[in-house]
Every structure is written in structure tokens, then in C-alpha cells.
């Protein structure tokens, strides 16, 4: 089986994984818009932001 794989290099790059022991949200215009639009998403994201800050505090 053969196929065209123009994105092979791009796909390979994503296999370079960096360890992450917590998640965080990168605030930008699109994220802010989504948060304002969907209240439940806003609640969950606020929780992530709060928790991410706590994790950072602990590691300092």
C-alpha cells in the first residue's frame, strides 16, 4: 500500500514530546470568546486556571 504523505515531517515533529506535569490554558481572544459564550466551559476553564496557578505555586 502506498500513499502520499506530504505531512509526514509535520506529523513526526509532534512525536517529540515534552513531559508536562500540569495543564494550563493559554489565554487568547478566541478562548475568551468561547468562555463568554458557554457558561459550563467557562466554569471548567476557570477551575483549570486556578489549579494551574496552585501547581506553579507549589513548585516554586
Amino acid at each position: 500500500m502506498k500513499w502520499e504523505n506530504n505531512d509526514a515531517n509535520e506529523l513526526l515533529k509532534s512525536a517529540n514530546i515534552k513531559a508536562n506535569n500540569y495543564i494550563e490554558i493559554k489565554e487568547n481572544e478566541a478562548v475568551t470568546k468561547i468562555k463568554k459564550k458557554w457558561p459550563l466551559v467557562d466554569q471548567i476553564m476557570s477551575f483549570v486556571v486556578k489549579n494551574s496557578a496552585n501547581r506553579k505555586d507549589r513548585t516554586i
Binding site: 500500500m1 500513499w3 504523505n5 505531512d7 509526514a8 509535520e10 506529523l11 513526526l12 509532534s14 512525536a15 517529540n16 514530546i17 515534552k18 513531559a19 508536562n20 506535569n21 500540569y22 495543564i23 494550563e24 490554558i25 493559554k26 487568547n28 478566541a30 478562548v31 468561547i34 459564550k37 458557554w38 459550563l40 466551559v41 471548567i44 476553564m45 477551575f47 483549570v48 489549579n51
Partner: protein, 251 residues
């Protein structure tokens, strides 16, 4: 051997479809593939053309005190497949409690004496139990599947926050996330996909599986979309995921 474990963030997100399609593509790429169904829903067999009434499988064999691996067979496309089998809830619980010790899975896989270049693909339930925990711990790569929905987003955050699958596996080097059933014309789907990518960054596979009627039709025909509609968008996406997986292991 390379062990790939596929788990849904919640049930119904398309894990068995992904396992069936990826396994057949890897086999087409001259890989040796063994698919081991560890999910008691016993649905994966239908993607591999088993008769609906055929209850055979490794778990049923164990309950009936027969050799578990005699339930395996080789499909027309070359993939070797071990179905779960149809057993009731009580038998399943008894099996987990009395027959599956803590090293059962890896011991059985090693005993199969498979060639080094074999891919073992484990299809596990979204709920944790002795079997799924062993699959997660012994795999080389974990693919966690989620829909771009608020429900899956909520599950994801809970799962990471509570370290649900244990040992910080949710964000470990071997865990990756795959978005499935993404509807191109749905505003909320697109926005939730963006949120998931924002949070998971390089843990998310750069190919999403879009919602495609061809996938449903393929299942109704008891086959995979890569065989039923090879030129469909979803068939191409499954190929890209398979290439990503091969790249990961070759890297």
C-alpha cells in the same frame, strides 16, 4: 513488540472504530498486527466480520475453562484478532476477581511469543478495572479518544485532576489524545476542539477524525471505512493517524 492501548474518555466516542481501522491500515503497511479486545462490550468483533450470534472470545473461554487464546483468528486482511466474547456481568466480575492476577496481561502477551515487529493493539473500556489498568501500565503508547464535547472536556479535566488512570499517566510521555467525531459544520464542535488543543498542546495528535456517515455505513456492512469507502475523508484521516503512530515508534 509495540503495545498500543486505545481508551475512550467516555463510552461511545469511537474507540472500536479507530482500533479496527488503524489495525487494518498497519497490516496493509506490512506490519504484523494483533488486536486484543479487552472491552466487555464485545463490539469490536463486528468490525472484523464475526457473526452477530457468535459468542466466542477469550473471556468466554476462560469462564468455560478452555484455553483463552484459542479464541483468536486471522481476518481476511491478515490482522490477528482475539475477541472478548459474550459473557454476563456476574461472569465478568468473577473473571476479574478470580482469574486475572496483577501480571496476567503481560504474562499472556509474552507467552504468545510474537515476532519483534508485532503491533499489539489493546481495545479497553473507558472504565478502570484490573484489566484496563494492566493494559495502560504495560503499553508503549496510550491513545485516549475524546469527542469535542463539553462532556468529554469535563471528563478530561476530572481525569487529569484526579489522576484517574493513576501514575500521572494522563499527561505522561506515552499518552496522547485523539479528537473523534468532529463535525465540520458545528460551531460548538469547532470551539471545543480549539479548547482541547489549547490545553493539551503537543499531547494531542495533529489529525482529528471528522464525523462521517461512511463510518456508520461501513459498520452496518460489517467492515471498516478504509475498505468500504477508501477515498472518504475519514479513511484518509485513519491513514494519517496510522502513519503518525509508525512515525512515533520509528522516531
Amino acid at each position: 513488540m509495540s503495545i498500543l492501548c486505545v481508551q475512550g474518555m467516555r463510552s461511545g466516542v469511537g474507540v472500536s472504530t479507530i482500533v479496527a481501522n488503524v489495525s487494518r491500515i498497519l497490516q496493509d503497511l506490512d506490519q504484523n498486527v494483533l488486536v486484543f479486545d479487552l472491552n466487555p462490550s464485545n463490539l469490536l468483533r463486528l468490525h472484523f466480520n464475526m457473526d452477530w450470534e457468535d459468542a466466542s472470545g477469550w473471556a468466554l473461554n476462560m469462564v468455560e475453562q478452555r484455553s483463552w487464546n484459542s479464541a483468536g483468528f486471522q481476518c481476511e486482511q491478515g490482522v490477528r484478532f482475539i475477541p472478548f466474547g459474550q459473557i454476563n456481568y456476574q461472569s465478568y466480575q468473577s473473571l476479574l476477581t478470580n482469574c486475572i492476577n496483577e501480571n496476567w496481561l503481560i504474562d499472556q502477551l509474552n507467552a504468545l511469543d510474537l515476532p519483534d515487529n508485532t503491533w499489539i493493539i489493546l481495545n479497553i473500556a473507558s472504565e478502570l478495572n484490573t484489566l484496563s489498568t494492566q493494559a495502560l501500565n504495560n503499553s508503549d503508547i496510550i491513545l485516549r479518544v475524546l469527542e469535542p464535547s463539553v462532556a468529554c472536556f469535563s471528563q478530561l479535566i476530572n481525569s487529569i485532576q484526579s489522576d484517574y488512570i493513576g501514575d500521572d499517566l494522563s499527561l505522561s510521555n506515552k499518552s496522547f489524545y485523539l479528537i473523534s467525531k468532529l463535525m465540520a459544520d458545528s460551531e460548538i464542535d469547532q470551539e471545543m476542539a480549539l479548547v482541547l488543543k489549547n490545553i493539551l498542546v503537543d499531547k494531542i495528535i495533529p489529525v482529528s477524525i471528522h464525523f462521517d456517515e461512511n463510518v456508520k455505513e461501513a459498520f452496518a456492512h460489517k467492515t471498516t471505512v478504509t475498505l468500504h469507502a477508501p477515498d472518504s475523508a475519514s479513511a484518509k484521516e485513519f491513514r494519517r493517524i496510522s502513519i503518525w503512530l509508525m512515525s512515533y515508534f520509528n522516531h
